[in-house]
């Protein structure tokens, strides 16, 4: 407990220094440049810290080189014991500040996706409670989920120069955004969905609908020969490189993107954008440029039927990219993973 307070005190001192540095950086960086967006994210993070009392700061702040970085999962609590600042424990005003930080750090589509996943989890919680099963309730022995069961953590002190990480996650969501100066990576992250389709205020919401539809469109745009290479002859029941598989890279399979036409390659990039584009556009664009540069050595693999609406797994794997999309036995429960084997948790940025 004492050490938590010590961390909070150090964080408070760091916060003051960082505010001064951010103020200077704000006056010099163009708003939509990587440096400018970094400044805005750090500023939004500092507003979150400033809105908290000492106990709150102690909950949200973790040392950069500690184990928190790799502590994320798709599972609900307490099947996976999360640490950080729980949304259920903050005031409405603090929650607004936190959501403002997320909307700053993510692209418009990325932020929408995160909200759709969280609302989906709330739908799941409501359905569970309605069925009298007590689902989504914390403290009662059952799994705790729903839109209040998401946690925020800062791994390292928010800074425009030193590396740090914004971690936000809960059931079916893990966003791990590592910032190092004006560079940022969102690998590894796990956007998932259950239910994969729900109705909210008369509107059908499919948090991962684009991922699904673009992948089916791509596999159906392949000719018979290409499909023969892309479609694996075996069943893939789950993510291969999901939570807990940091640092592992599997032998790629499927069709190489160099065997795709320009139009098909563009479809593949559009599909990848659904993950790489979750982060703010300022960071997504250089990331997509890197993925495009490695496209000749990128593979697309498919397992399952190719009619949209079927249960099908797919994987996109290149030198700096792993994406997996794995339905959990049916189309209404999807797990996905996004990794960069060369730069998970910003390893490449930090090594420089």
């Amino acid at each position: 407990m004492r050490s938590r307070h010590r961390i909070a005190s150090i964080a408070a001192v760091g916060l003051l220094a960082a505010i001064a540095a951010t103020g200077f950086a704000q006056r010099t960086a163009p708003a939509n440049s990587q440096a400018g967006v970094t400044v805005r994210i750090v500023d939004a993070a500092q507003k979150v810290l400033a809105s908290l009392d000492e106990a709150g700061r102690a909950k949200v702040q973790f040392p950069f080189d500690g184990p928190q970085k790799a502590r994320w999962s798709n599972l609900p609590s307490p099947m996976f014991q999360r640490t950080g600042l729980r949304l259920a424990d903050v005031t409405p005003s603090q929650r607004t500040t936190i959501m403002n930080l997320l909307s700053t750090a993510l692209s418009r589509d990325g932020y929408r996706k995160v909200l759709d996943i969280m609302r989906g989890d709330e739908v799941l919680r409501t359905q569970s409670a309605g069925a009298g099963r007590g689902g989504g309730r914390a403290g009662g022995g059952g799994p705790a989920f729903g839109e209040n069961e998401y946690y925020l953590a800062f791994v390292g002190t928010p800074s425009v120069t030193a590396p740090w990480m914004l971690q936000f996650g809960g059931h079916h969501l893990a966003i791990n955004l590592t910032l190092a100066g004006s560079q940022a990576t969102m690998a590894p992250s796990l956007p998932a969905a259950q239910p994969a389709s729900y109705t909210l205020e008369g509107r059908t919401v499919r948090p991962l609908g684009n991922e699904n539809d673009k992948a089916f469109a791509l596999v159906n745009a392949l000719d018979a020969g290409q499909r023969g290479q892309a479609v694996l002859n075996y069943r893939v029941a789950d993510l291969v490189l999901g939570p807990g598989q940091d640092g592992r890279t599997i032998q790629p399979e499927g069709i190489r993107a160099s065997s795709l036409s320009t139009t098909q390659q563009q479809r593949l990039i559009d599909l990848v954008r659904e993950w790489a584009g979750i982060t703010n556009d300022a960071f997504a664009e250089p990331r997509l440029a890197e993925i495009k540069a490695n496209l000749p050595n990128t593979y697309f693999a498919w397992s399952g039927p190719t009619t949209n609406g079927s249960v099908a797994y797919f994987r996109v794997q290149g030198p700096t990219l792993v994406i997996e999309y794995a339905p959990q036995g049916n189309v209404d429960h999807i797990h996905t993973i996004y990794r960069d084997p060369t730069n998970d948790y910003g390893a490449k940025f930090i090594a420089k």
């Binding site: 599972l75 609900p76 099947m79 996976f80 799941l124 359905q127 569970s128 069925a131 099963r133 007590g134 689902g135 022995g141 059952g142 799994p143 989920f145 059931h171 259950q194 694996l232 002859n233 075996y234 069943r235 893939v236 029941a237 789950d238 291969v240 807990g244 592992r248 890279t249 599997i250 032998q251 399979e253 959990q328 036995g329 049916n330 209404d332 429960h333």
Partner: protein, 220 residues
């Protein structure tokens, strides 16, 4: 009597957990036993990782097999015994020659996590490969553990370094069997040593030959 009471307890616990966790787990595999294997092929060994996650409907059954004395606490001996059982159902051969697996490490999570269908049993093993010549080799991995419940993943990890290159992989439809064609390149240091040995031997033969030809001969 003891076994019967143990099964009843586990059945009740499992039933309770199924009700409590029904919605979260509803779309997860409930009555299947996910077994994910990853193979790291190296010149002189194969590192094998197997992660086993029983679904909520079969977790009690699996746990009963792990918890030999049924005290709802998994000891290191029980963990090791279960891991050995799993490994005994896994066959590995290289170029048609069976290679035994040696357990390196094993882990069983908290029983509650297993019963909730979200606990993963982790097993690490190694298979030492006899000295192989440079060139093409063929590895066969087959997991026959609990085929009545098993859902399988089998993948080859990207080799570390440039001595091993994966040329092709084949699987059966359920991924119980994985065949890997790979290429092995000699160790540069070994090749250098071999080259030096050949060169040195050649030099000795050459010097000896010259000496033999030029040696003083007695006139006949």
């Amino acid at each position: 009597m003891r076994n019967s009471s143990r099964s009843s307890t586990i059945r009740v616990l499992t039933a309770l957990l199924i009700v409590v966790s029904a919605d979260v787990s509803s779309a997860h595999r409930r009555d299947e036993y996910l077994q994910a294997a990853r193979l790291g092929i190296e010149p002189d060994r194969v590192q094998i990782e197997v992660d086993l996650t029983p679904g909520i409907a079969v977790a009690g059954q699996v746990l009963a097999e792990v918890d030999g004395d049924a005290n709802r606490s998994i000891s290191s001996d029980e963990t090791r015994a279960y891991a050995e059982r799993v490994l005994s159902a896994i066959a590995l051969d290289v170029d048609g020659v069976p290679v035994p697996l040696t357990l390196v490490d094993s882990f069983v999570p908290a029983t509650d996590a297993v019963l909730e269908g979200e606990g993963t049993i982790r097993i690490r093993a190694v298979a030492r490969i006899p000295l192989l010549a440079d060139g093409s080799h063929h590895l066969r991995f087959r997991n026959a553990f609990r085929p009545d419940l098993g859902v399988y993943l089998a993948n080859t990890l990207m080799p570390v370094g440039d001595r091993v290159t994966i040329r092709a992989q084949e699987r059966d439809v359920d991924q119980r069997e994985l065949l890997v064609d790979y290429n092995l390149r000699g160790d540069p240091a070994t090749r250098l040593r071999q080259g030096l040995t050949v060169g040195f031997t050649g030099a000795i033969v050459l010097v000896a030959n010259v000496w033999w030809r030029r040696r003083p001969r007695e006139d006949v």
